[in-house]
Structure formats: structure tokens, C-alpha cells
């Protein structure tokens, strides 16, 4: 009996060595050296006929489908050391890989044929869609893979590129990673009214599903430099790019939505024709819907506090109340002009509500909204909108005089 007990114990002792096997690490592990971290993706429409034909010969591609080129921006173990100033190598800090085809995932998988890295998109930061692609293909279809896959983070930001998207993921300086550069620029929203609040993939899925039109930030390239420039209007029904808004329109949009965090208003003094720059410290906007019978109207109340940040009007005491009133008045006029401009553009030219008027109606008159939401963009284009702007200059910096 005792002997048997001992044997069992011995057996357990040996079995416990098997536990060591579980200490070898994770089953689904991947070595970081073998990963290619995808930080940016650019999607472009391909119009090159010869490329199209070549692809059709080599692959089972469907001829009538739109041809896309996908550019992945990779950071790999080889590129992370490169691009630093002390090293003499002029190798870039990133590595762009492009491939063409008619659907996203097959194209990405084709990259396997050329690359030794395992593409890893858990740290993706930005998806740039080329203007041609956004114009011709439904955004829901383009982004389906990204929304469906478990790897792409819904926190990645969506941008529209004027002309080619792949250009926005290139930079002249080897040390800069263009995808991260774009993210940094999008944070400038705190100091200008010309950038929209960034829209992430996660938020976009709601907007695409809601059938209402919306804006996406544009990015353009010139001489190898990227610049945030205006916005694209995405049609809520077709989910395609309808047209562009310029930087001035964006300023108007920021004022109407009241979502700006800072920025400037540049206006001319009425008496002297000199420049006065008003810097926004706070900004508020209240859109109020009114429903009387079947008539819907809106009232926008914009208020802002700020300071005189730069003044070109000579020989005036800036601290005088009379001058401050004058400055307030011209700045206010300028804001009114921006607002009127963008209201005209969205109501008359594009007939699309991208300013959140529909949302206010939904919140304050939910039952009315249920009736009008189907043709909202049409209805919106004919709705009268009143706006009041109130600017208050609270201080004038460290200089009292301007001489």
C-alpha cells in the first residue's frame, strides 16, 4: 500500500515536469522583427490602362471593377534605426509598398508575395483616400474591409487627398514618418479654424450608416509637402465625394458648429483700412430649430470671446473703449460674412446639410425629424436660417498703444 502511494507520488512528480511546456510562451506570438507595422494606408483609383491589362492577364481580376492602388506605409525593424541624423545613411524612416487590384484584402495579401514582413495594422494611424476613388466608389464599399477586420483600429483617422493619396505618404525628409506627420497636423485644430475635428474610422461607420451628408478633412500635396486644405463633402445617400469646400468655407463651418477651439479673425478697420486680428479664446454656437406648423426655420446664435492679437491701425490707443467697439464690429462683420458664405454654399450650391442642423432638429423636435429625415438634404436647402454673431473683446495683450 505504502509502496503504491510512493509510486503515485513519483508519477505526479514526473507529470509536473510537463507543466514546464506551458512556460515556453504564447501560442500566437509574433516576433517584432518579423512585423511590418502599418501606420498609414493610401487608397487610389488607378486609371492606367496598361497596368489594368497586365493585371487581367496575370490574375483573376474582374474587368469592369474599379482598379485601386493601395499604398501601405510600413515601419519595420530595419527602418526604425534609419533616418536618424547621427547616422550617415540616407535611408528613409519608413517604407512604402504599393500594389494594385480590385478589392482591398486580396491586394494586401498579394504584398505577401513580395515582402518578408508580416503586415500588422494594430497601430494604424491614418487612412488617406484619393479624390478620384472617393468620387467614383461608395465609401462604404471602400472601407468595408477596414471596418470588418479585427486588426485595423477604429481610431485611425480618415482623410481625403486632393489628387493622389499615395503622394501624401511621402516626404522629402527621410527622418519624418509622413503618416505620423499627418496626425500631428490634425491636432492643430486648437490654433486654427481651418481644420475640421478629426473623424475616426469608428465615428465614420455611424455617419455612413445614418444617410446624412458629412465632411472629411482634405489634404493636398505640393512640392513634396503636405498641407491640410479645405474639406470634402460626402453625399449621405451615394456615400461618394460630391465636392470640395475651401479653407474659408471651413472657417464658416467652424463658426456655425461652434466646435473650434481657437483661431483668428482677420478684418479691416473701417476708417483706416488697416488690419485688425482678433484671436478666439472661446467660441460657442447654439443652433435653435423653430417649428411652426409645417414650417421649419433655424436660428444660429454664435458668441465668442477673444483678444486683439495684432493691430495695424496706427496712432490709436487700443485700450480705448471706442476703438475696441469698432474692432468688435468689424470682426463680427467678418464672421457674419464667413457664416453667410458657407450657408449659401451648403444650401444653394451643394444642397447638403453638413453643419448639424438636422441633428439639432432630431434632438429638439424628434417627431418632426422622423417625417423630414428621408429627404432632409432637399428640405434643408430651402429652410430659412437666421444668424446672430456676438463677439466680445476682453483684452488687448501687453501693448496698449500702437505707434
Amino acid at each position: 500500500m505504502k509502496q503504491r502511494h510512493k509510486n503515485v507520488r513519483l508519477l505526479f512528480r514526473f507529470l509536473s515536469f510537463l507543466l514546464l511546456l506551458t512556460l515556453t510562451g504564447c501560442w500566437s506570438q509574433r516576433e517584432i522583427e518579423e512585423l511590418g507595422l502599418v501606420v498609414g494606408i493610401a487608397l487610389d483609383l488607378e486609371k492606367d490602362k496598361s497596368l489594368e491589362e497586365a493585371l487581367e492577364r496575370n490574375e483573376n481580376r474582374y474587368p469592369d471593377k474599379a482598379l485601386m492602388t493601395i499604398t501601405n506605409q510600413l515601419i519595420t525593424s530595419e527602418t526604425t534605426g534609419a533616418g536618424k541624423k547621427e547616422g550617415k545613411s540616407q535611408q528613409k524612416a519608413y517604407n512604402n509598398v504599393s500594389e494594385s487590384g480590385d478589392a482591398i484584402l486580396p491586394v494586401l495579401r498579394n504584398m505577401v508575395l513580395r515582402s518578408d514582413k508580416h503586415l500588422f495594422a494594430q497601430h494604424l494611424k491614418v487612412i488617406v483616400i484619393g479624390e478620384d476613388l472617393a468620387r467614383t466608389v461608395n465609401l462604404n464599399q471602400i472601407l468595408d474591409f477596414f471596418l470588418r477586420g479585427q486588426e485595423v483600429r477604429p481610431s485611425s483617422i480618415i482623410l481625403i487627398a486632393k489628387n493622389r493619396a499615395s503622394k501624401t505618404l511621402e516626404s522629402k525628409e527621410p527622418a519624418v514618418i509622413p503618416a505620423l506627420h499627418l496626425i500631428q497636423i490634425s491636432k492643430g485644430q486648437e490654433r486654427t479654424t481651418k481644420i475640421l475635428p478629426p473623424i475616426s474610422l469608428g465615428k465614420l461607420s455611424g455617419k455612413l450608416h445614418s444617410e446624412s451628408s458629412f465632411l472629411l478633412q482634405n489634404v493636398s500635396t505640393k512640392n513634396g509637402e503636405v498641407k491640410f486644405e479645405g474639406a470634402s463633402l460626402i453625399d449621405g445617400r451615394a456615400k461618394k465625394l460630391r465636392g470640395f469646400l475651401n479653407e474659408k468655407d471651413l472657417e464658416g463651418i467652424t463658426w456655425v458648429t461652434g466646435k473650434g477651439k481657437g483661431g483668428l479673425v482677420k478684418s479691416l478697420d473701417e476708417k483706416t483700412g488697416q488690419l485688425i486680428i482678433y484671436e478666439i479664446e472661446s467660441m460657442k454656437s447654439k443652433i435653435r430649430p423653430h417649428v411652426v406648423g409645417n414650417n421649419i426655420s433655424f436660428e444660429v446664435n454664435i458668441s465668442s470671446e477673444g483678444r486683439i492679437a495684432e493691430n495695424w491701425v496706427v496712432s490709436r490707443k487700443v485700450s480705448e473703449n471706442e476703438f475696441l467697439k469698432r474692432a468688435e464690429k468689424v470682426s463680427k462683420k467678418e464672421v457674419e460674412r464667413l457664416v453667410k458664405n458657407v450657408l449659401d454654399k451648403t444650401q444653394k450650391e451643394y444642397q447638403a446639410d453638413v453643419l448639424g442642423f438636422g441633428d439639432r432638429l432630431r434632438i429638439e423636435y424628434p417627431k418632426v425629424w422622423e417625417n423630414v429625415k428621408k429627404d432632409w438634404d432637399q428640405t434643408f436647402s430651402k429652410i430659412p436660417i437666421k444668424y446672430n454673431v456676438k463677439l466680445t473683446i476682453t483684452d488687448y495683450g501687453t501693448s496698449v498703444l500702437n505707434k
Partner: protein, 374 residues
């Protein structure tokens, strides 16, 4: 008879305190549903008022729980498996017990499968399902071999960790929260809210464990308190979840996401923080919660069989493992799995929504009869 009884109720000295009972209930209620709740409820309600539906669902669960507790308190120190035969006779009672045992191990199989689906998709892509499920089940077996007390102690460890991590992750997402997504409140009246009541009510599956748990409590008279605390805490969890998810993704966005709660956590980045994939934290506490629900249902099923056949509980524990595994592997696709979950919910509605009330009435009537007779 008495000696026999002691042998079959694996150690009834094994008692738990009132707060432990509440923790067991909380851990049991919080399970697979929290990852899909925002979608399933919004699909039904279609307005941002889901959070009201969640609160109402919780209140209904509290009422159902109180009925269950009142029923159990009629038979002190006995679990449902023991008193049901006393109440309904050997055959009807036995059959009902078998149904409930079936419910418990089916639910535990459902939890195991959901666990393997989500971890397989989000965390361990290349790991086969059996490699995720088996260790999970073995550790569960190891835990329940010790009886209710070790379980309650483990849950008391899991619970605070879950609360802290959950609140941390939920409030980190406040950066992308937009109040307008939650407005208007009651814009389309209360009709939509009622439409989602069944969905949210079923999120609070769990008070049924009081059919057994009251018998293990040191102070069974405080069982109503256990229900109140044990359902309210998950209710707070759920309300925070739907508010944060809808606030960030909007009603339109939530319905497009299969696992909206995970999508929420993946939708933000904290600038300046070295760490990026917060969903792994959320999944860790969620796995712990699934483990808790799995072990409780597993134990409840084994206990039922042991008490029904008046045998030692250990063989039943071993015997249930392959059954649970096979049931867990039956749904062929994720849609099958969701349907399977709905089925369990409907069964629970009948078994624990309607049945306890009937039984309570029967037992009261019987009691009245006894009193008039004596």
C-alpha cells in the same frame, strides 16, 4: 437519513457570508452580454433611450429575484433541487430539476463558446479553439472541486479588479464622447423603450442562482439585500457601457458593430501614453467574468445532479466536462451562437420568470392548508 443527507450535499458547512453571496451574484450576471448589449438593445429600441431600458430591465430582474428568494426562504437550508420534490412530488419536481440542470450546463457551454470566439478573434488569432477552451474548463473544474467557498473567495478577488479596470477603460473613452448622440431623451415616447425590455431584462440573467445560493448563506434572511446589491451593480456597469458606447459611436454606428463595446475601446487613443491597445485590459476582466459565470453554472449543474441522484458530486463534475465541451462546439457560426444565446434566454424567461412565482403561490397555498389542518 441525516447522515445520508450530509454525504450528498457536499459539505453544507461550507457557508458564505452575505457580501460573498452578493459578489457571486454580480460575477454571475456580468458575462458574455456586456460586449454585445449596446447593439442588441439599440437594434430593438432604435433611439438613444437604451439606458432607460437597461434600468427598467434591472428593476424587473430585481423583482424576479425577490420572488425567487422568497420561494427559497420557505425552505431553509435546502436548495431548490431538494425542496422541489417536496413541493411538487417526486416526478414533476425531478423533471423540473433536470430541466434546470440542463439550463445551467447549456448556459455554461454558451459562455465557453463565446469566450473562445472573442479571444480567438481579438487576442489569440492563431490559437485553435480547443486550446483556449480546454485549459479554461480544467481550471474551472479545479475550482469547483473545492465547493462554494473557494469560488466565493476567488470571485471576491476578481470583483474589485473588474470594477477598477472597467471604470478606467470606460472613462478613458470620454474623449470621444458626444452628449448629442444620447439626445433626445424620450424623443419618441416610451414605446421604443418597451420594445427593448426583453433584451435588456435577459442581460440580467443570474438571480436564478438564488434558488441554490440561499441554502449556502450564513444569514438567509438577508437574501433580498443580496438581490438588491447584486443586480444594481451590474446595472450600473451596463448603464455606463451603453451610455459610453452610444455617446461615442452614435445610435447609427452602434448597430453596425458586432462587438460594439470592444469597438468603443479601440476607437480612441490616449496621446502621450505609451500603451495603445486598451481592449486587451477589457478582454482580460471580461474573461475573468466569463470564467466566474462558467464556474457557477457548471457547479450549479453538478450540484443539481448530485442532489437529485443523492450521490457524491465529484463524478458529476468530471462527467459534465465532455458534455459542456460538445454543446459548446455545436453552434456552427457566430449567428448560430447568437441564436443559441437567444434560445437560452427564452428558456430562462419561462424557467425563472414564470415558474418561481407559480411555485411560490403553490407553496403558500400548501402552507395555508397545513395550518388549517393543524
Amino acid at each position: 437519513m441525516k447522515g445520508n443527507e450530509r454525504a450528498m450535499i457536499v459539505n453544507l458547512k461550507d457557508r458564505i457570508t452575505t457580501s460573498q453571496a452578493a459578489v457571486v451574484l454580480v460575477n454571475y450576471i456580468l458575462a458574455a452580454g456586456i460586449l454585445t448589449l449596446p447593439r442588441t438593445s439599440v437594434e430593438k429600441v432604435k433611439t438613444p433611450d437604451v439606458w432607460i431600458t437597461v434600468i427598467l430591465g434591472g428593476l424587473i430582474a430585481i423583482m424576479a429575484g425577490i420572488i425567487i428568494v422568497k420561494l427559497s426562504q420557505q425552505y431553509p437550508k435546502k436548495t431548490f433541487y431538494q425542496y422541489s420534490q417536496e413541493l411538487l412530488g417526486k416526478w414533476v419536481g425531478g423533471l423540473l430539476c433536470l430541466l434546470i440542470v440542463g439550463y445551467f450546463f447549456t448556459l455554461s457551454a454558451f459562455e465557453v463558446r463565446t469566450l473562445s470566439e472573442v479571444t480567438g478573434f481579438f487576442l489569440l488569432e492563431d490559437t485553435p479553439a480547443w486550446a483556449i477552451i480546454m485549459p479554461f474548463m480544467w481550471i474551472g473544474l479545479y475550482l469547483i472541486m473545492g465547493g462554494i467557498n473557494p469560488m466565493a473567495r476567488l470571485f471576491s478577488l476578481i470583483f474589485p479588479i473588474s470594477v477598477v479596470v472597467f471604470l478606467l477603460v470606460a472613462f478613458m473613452s470620454s474623449g470621444i464622447f458626444e452628449l448629442d448622440n444620447l439626445r433626445p431623451v424620450l424623443g419618441l415616447g416610451i414605446k421604443p423603450i418597451l420594445a427593448g425590455l426583453k433584451t435588456t431584462g435577459l442581460m440580467f440573467l443570474g438571480p436564478e442562482i438564488m434558488l441554490l445560493l440561499v441554502a449556502f448563506m450564513q444569514q438567509p434572511d438577508k437574501a433580498v439585500k443580496v438581490i438588491l446589491v447584486g443586480v444594481s451593480i451590474p446595472m450600473i456597469f451596463y448603464v455606463i457601457t451603453v451610455v459610453m458606447v452610444i455617446g461615442a459611436l452614435s445610435v447609427d454606428g452602434v448597430v453596425t458593430r458586432t462587438w460594439p463595446t470592444i469597438s468603443l475601446i479601440r476607437s480612441f487613443e490616449i496621446p502621450g501614453l505609451f500603451f495603445e491597445r486598451f481592449e486587451s485590459f477589457m478582454l482580460v476582466i471580461w474573461i475573468m467574468q466569463i470564467f466566474a459565470t462558467f464556474t457557477i453554472t457548471y457547479y450549479a449543474a453538478a450540484l443539481g445532479l448530485a442532489q437529485l441522484f443523492k450521490k457524491n458530486i465529484h463524478p458529476f463534475m468530471y462527467g459534465l466536462i465532455p458534455i459542456i465541451y460538445i454543446i459548446a462546439m455545436t453552434p456552427k457560426s457566430i449567428n448560430d451562437l447568437f441564436k443559441f444565446g437567444d434560445m437560452i434566454g427564452n428558456a430562462a424567461l419561462l424557467l425563472f420568470g414564470v415558474m418561481p412565482l407559480l411555485l411560490l403561490i403553490v407553496s403558500k397555498l400548501k402552507e395555508g392548508k397545513h395550518e388549517t389542518e393543524t
